[in-house]
Symmetry: C2
Subunit: 213 residues, 2 copies
């Protein structure tokens, strides 16, 4: 039950924001009444914290896999980006909730961000600096700023893809109720930008048969 509440709360917080999504809305989406919801979560703020906690918990399961990939080789470097994109794009509400919290409560989110992404970015930054020493990575990359920018780019691209997507290709059909998948063109380009702004040799593969699939 609590998990259904968390799921619906995540969905509605993502769509309307924390203040915009009322407990009544969330309860109705779950199929119960408001006081029943408050039985499981003592307050709306507690519900918000639980939503965030659940998401960061899930995130923490993904991180070790990425770190292992990061330290193994250059080609696997992309895997970090792909893994991050996968995490957010398999449920874009994660990106939206996170972005909204970043906007709504920056002071509260700053320590959380430090706690959950700082150590990971530290490893990646070390790897970038090593790459710079070996000449594989552009010398003028600012590792911390680069990593922050790429995370930011992935997060916001997925969060607002519904709007930006209509910029790059007209909506296929109007009035559809389903979520509309994220344009692969956008995601591919995000990865390409991240890769080609990091490594000095941008194209090991000649990009000739990319249209196969």
């Amino acid at each position: 039950m609590a998990s259904q509440i968390l799921a619906q709360a995540t969905r509605l917080f993502a769509a309307r924001g924390f203040v915009g999504a009322s407990l009544q809305d969330i309860a109705k989406a779950v199929g119960i009444r408001k006081p029943s919801l408050l039985y499981h979560f003592p307050s709306k703020d507690e519900l918000r914290r639980s939503v965030l906690e659940q998401m960061l918990e899930h995130w923490n399961e993904v991180v070790p896999r990425m770190l292992r990939a990061a330290t193994s080789g250059e080609a696997q470097f992309d895997a970090i980006g792909e893994e991050t994109i996968k995490f957010f794009s398999e449920d874009p509400d994660r990106a939206r909730v996170l972005l909204r919290e970043l906007l709504d409560r920056p002071d509260e989110m700053a320590p959380l961000v430090r706690l959950h992404v700082q150590p990971w970015t530290g490893v990646v930054c070390d790897y970038i600096r090593k790459g710079q020493a070996q000449g594989r990575v552009h010398a003028d990359v600012d590792p911390e700023a680069y990593v922050s920018s790429v995370i930011n780019l992935i997060l916001s691209t997925i969060a607002v893809h519904a709007v930006v997507g209509t910029l790059i290709e007209p909506p296929t059909s109007e009035g559809d109720g389903e979520p509309a998948p994220i344009s692969p063109r956008l995601l591919d380009e995000v990865l390409r930008v991240a890769r080609s702004s990091l490594f000095v040799s941008p194209a090991p593969q000649p990009a000739l048969a990319t249209e196969t699939s």
Copy 2:
């Protein structure tokens, strides 16, 4: 008077979101009572539209300057990015309000985005394709997706710089009430990423005496 209301409304919408900022809060920030505010703007929704309209109006004054820069030469290409960054970073609330609206009302914002940034991105995309034909721009750039990504990156970087900034350098002093300027490291890296993921020859200048000015 109306301009003061718009200014405070922009500030509070940016900080707390549309539903989170009450008319009473805005009126108090201006120094008047709520009904007096509703005398100037007939409804809260009208106030929101006016805030957006004022911002897009201001934006439309900047666009022609950028377009002139875009069609003049390669070095001036960066000027577009710098101009865009300047527009948002001289008042980060613009980025925050825009991002919030993108999250809150995607269906309403999509046509606005098309109207106000579509023509401009069209010109830039043409320029990118010309650059690709001449070999100055990476062949695997997806012009529309690239431009969308860069706009997204600039917007979100400035919108949440307060949180991300603490990732790349510890806050100099705690408890400061002033807005805290955007880290130049972040902005420089955003520009570098945008530039170096576009052009094939990333460094015409050897980046040796860049610290002169």
